[in-house]
């Protein structure tokens, strides 16, 4: 199954991963990544809040396309891809990607692939609220290097 969602309220990844796993009898492995809002930036400043904005006509359709690509490329039985939007606070989950496959390697690689694309090639814009105000966040050079490993078109 392909389960791709944008959520505007906090979520508990376990409540999604359990049913997702149960929906794939006969699977060989499930790999899950959960990203959370960090409490500090790299320089050490506190993060009060994070806000993710998106563009309705593009964001969800492009995530669905990304999940389909992952399912085909890594021969998955299913993929769960859930992304928060709106304002969130440190410790809250921001993204959850889970892949179910017959074999370990496909599941692990599919999650890595999906996360690299969500970080720097999906239609989200992220800003961080620190003590001195809001700061827009752009992907780091590392993020683009990670993305380039997969040899996919960066915009969809």
């Amino acid at each position: 199954m392909r389960d791709v969602r944008l959520l505007t309220a906090p979520f508990i990844p376990g409540t999604l991963i359990g049913p997702f796993t149960n929906a794939h009898p006969g699977l060989g492995g499930v790999c899950t990544f959960v990203g959370e809002v960090r409490g500090k930036v790299r320089g050490g400043a506190d993060v009060r809040a994070l806000e993710l904005s998106y563009y309705e006509p593009l964001t969800l359709p492009s995530m669905e396309q990304l999940a389909d690509e992952a399912i085909t490329r890594f021969d998955l039985m299913g993929m769960l891809m859930v992304h928060r939007v709106g304002k969130m606070h440190p410790g809250e989950p921001i993204v959850c990607v889970s892949a179910a496959a017959k074999h370990r390697r496909g599941a692990i690689d599919a999650v890595d692939f999906a996360m690299d694309h969500l970080k720097s090639a999906a239609w989200f814009w992220k800003r961080e609220q620190r003590d001195d105000g809001w700061h827009w966040i752009e992907p780091r050079a590392d993020d683009y290097v990670n993305l380039a490993r997969w040899n996919t078109p960066t915009q969809r």
Binding site: Y55, K119, A122, K126, R127, P139
Partner: protein, 80 residues
């Protein structure tokens, strides 16, 4: 009805608004003029994309928005 221009991410701050309405049709030159010099300078950069009617344009300078279309200005993204 016209064309609706939507400013996303940091371009929203730069434009100091979420969106604006301009008369149709709207081409690349018209867009640059409609958004003001600061946003226009960003739009000329390769890393900023433009979508029209829900599709990202392969060549944004070929923009040809018709009555009722929405044109979205898409700066570099950051998710996860």
């Amino acid at each position: 009805m016209g064309v609706r221009i939507v400013f996303l991410g940091p371009l929203r701050d730069l434009a100091a608004k979420d969106e604006s309405e301009v008369p149709a049709p709207l081409d690349w030159a018209g867009l640059l003029e409609a958004v003001g010099p600061e946003v226009a300078a960003q739009l000329r950069e390769e890393r900023v994309n433009v979508a029209c009617a829900g599709k990202v344009l392969a060549d944004k300078t070929a923009l040809n928005a018709q009555d009722g279309d929405e044109v979205a200005l898409l700066p570099p993204v950051s998710g996860g």
